[in-house]
C-alpha cells in the first residue's frame, strides 16, 4: 500500500532500493559510482507518489514474455523476473501499464520490483519515514489468496 497523503516525495525508497537491492557494494557512497549504475525498482512519480510493481492479477508482462522468464511465485503471487533466461527482448517493458520495468541494455535483463520476495520485508516500506509505503494484507481486493 502506498498512501498518497503521507508520501512527501523524499525519494528515500528509491535510494534504499537502489543501494540495498540493486548495487553490488550495498553502500550508498560506493553505489553511486558503480558501473553499470544501480537501478531502483521503485519510482517517485509526479511530485509525490512512490510507485512500484503492482503484481497484477492478470499481469500483461507475463502474457507478453515469450519464454516464461516473467514468472509468478505460486505461493505468494508475486511477479518476478527469472534472470538466467531473460533475453532482453523488452516485450514486458512494452506491456507494463505502469511503466515500472526498466530495460537494462548493459545488464541485458529486465529489471523490476519483486517486492523483496527473498528478503521477507520490502525495503521501501522499511525505510519510508512517513510510513506512506506499508505492507498490508487486504482481503477486499485480491480475489485470489495472494
Amino acid at each position: 500500500m502506498v498512501d498518497k497523503n503521507k508520501c512527501t516525495g523524499c525519494h528515500q525508497c528509491e535510494l534504499w532500493c537502489g543501494t540495498e537491492i540493486a548495487s553490488v557494494s550495498k553502500e550508498l557512497y560506493q553505489a553511486i559510482h558503480e558501473t553499470p549504475q544501480p537501478v531502483p525498482r521503485v519510482f517517485v512519480e509526479g511530485k509525490d507518489f512512490a510507485l512500484q510493481c503492482r503484481h497484477c492479477e492478470e499481469a500483461p508482462c507475463i502474457e507478453a514474455c515469450p519464454n516464461g522468464t516473467m514468472r509468478r511465485d505460486p505461493e505468494t503471487g508475486l511477479v518476478y523476473v527469472y534472470e538466467p533466461t531473460c533475453i532482453a527482448c523488452w516485450m514486458c517493458v512494452m506491456a507494463c501499464p505502469f511503466g515500472i520495468i526498466t530495460p537494462s541494455s548493459t545488464l541485458k535483463v529486465a529489471i523490476k520490483c519483486d517486492r523483496c520476495r527473498n528478503m521477507g520485508y520490502p525495503i521501501c516500506a522499511e525505510v519510508c519515514p512517513t510510513q506512506a509505503i506499508r505492507l498490508e494484507e487486504r482481503k477486499d481486493y485480491r480475489t485470489k489468496a495472494f
Partner: protein
Amino acid sequence: MRYVIVGGSASAISAVEAIRSIDKDSSIDLFSDEATPLFSRVLLPYYIAEELSKPLLSFRSADFFEQNRVTPHLGVKVRSILADSKMIQTEDGKSYSYDKLLLATGGNPIIPPIRGIELQGIFPLKTMADAEKIYHFKAKRAVVIGAGSVGVESSISLKRRGMEVTLLEQLGQVLPTVFDEEAASVVQKRIEELGITTILGEKALQFEGNGQVKKVITESRVIECDMVIIAVGIRPAIELAQEAGIEIGSTGGIKVNPEMMTSIADIYASGDVAETYDITRDSPWVNAIWPCAVEQGRIAGLNMAGKRVLYEGSFRRNSIGNFIGIPAISMGLLRAETCSTCEGGEAFQEIKKRTKETYKKLILKNGRLVGVILVGPTQKAGLYQILLKKKMAVTDYIPLLMSHRLNFMDLLPLIRRYADRFTETEYKEIMDTGL
C-alpha cells in the same frame, strides 16, 4: 465436453490454460504438425545465434501437457475438418470428435516464386526444424532476403556466428512494417555498425548455383553466398479452415467474432491465423504477434469452456529487443499519410522528436492516439499502450507524452476521465495503488 486444439504454439497453449482455469476434467486433444513442443517461435534467431540453448527456448515447463492433462499429438498433421459431424481427420487416417474446436494454426512462411528457389541452402525460418537446418548448415556468406523482424534478427544471429551477411530488402527501409523511415534509419545504422551489409530498394530476381545456392542476382548486382534465408513474411495458414467452408476475412485471416468464434458454430480461431478487429485501424486485420496470440488464445479458451468473454481487439506491438543494443518499441499505426485502410476526411497529426540516438513519434487520429514509435528511452512504453488500447483522446496531454518525465501518476487524470472504458477488474487493478 471434448476439446480439440489444432496448433501448439503461443495461442494454443494459452487456450489450454484458459480452458483449464474453468474446466478441470474434460479431455483436451492438441495436434501440432511440429515434433518439438512448447518452444518459443520468436526466439529461434537467438537459437541460431547460440544465445539460447534448446531447453531455454521453451515458454512452458516440459511437463506442461501432463500438468494440464492434455493429450498431445505431436508431428501429426490434421487433414480435414468435418464440421457437420464435428470431427477432425488426421493424416495418419484417424478421426477425433470434438464439441469445441480451436484453430490456432498460425502462419506459413511466404516463399516467393523466384527462379532457383529450390536450390540447396535456401531456408525459411519458421519451425524448429528450419532453425536446426540453418544452425547446422556450413556456410561462410549468407544473404537474408527481407528486412522484417525475422530477417533483421536472423542477420544479426548469423553475423554473430561469424558469417559475412548481406541483408536485402526490396522496400526503401529496414523493418518496414515496424518503423517509419526515421526510426528505421537509426536501427539500420546500428545493424550496419555490426558489420552487416544492408541493400535497400532491390529485389532478388534469381538464385544461381549448381544444386547448391552460390549467387543471388538482383537488378543491379550479383551477391555471392552459400546460404540464403527467406524472411519475406508469413501468411495465415487457412487451408484447413477454407476447405471446411469457414469464412475468410478480407485481409486473409480466419474471420472471428469477439468471442473468437468463426463463421461455423463451436469452431474458434486465434493467433496468427485469425483476423480480428484492429483497435488502431478501426478495421479488421491480422496482427500476427506474440502478445495478440496469447490474448486471443485466452479469450477463445474461456469462451470454449463456457465463460462468455469478449475480445476488445488487437493492435500491432513490436519490440526489437537488445539485438541492436538500444531498445526500440513501436505500436499501432506507423505514419499518418499512408494509412491506406483509413477512411478519408479524418484529421491525422504526427508529433516527432529526434536526437542523435533517440526518436519518439506519436500519431494521432482526430486527437486519438493511434500509433507510437520509441527508439531509446522506452521504459514508459506500456503507458502509451493503455491510451492506444482504450482509444483515448490525448490532445491536451501531448507535452507530457512527448516529455522524458512521462509517468503513470501524471497520466492518472486522463485514465480517470476514461474510466468507463475499462472493465471493473482492469480499472481496479490500475487504480489500486493505495489511493
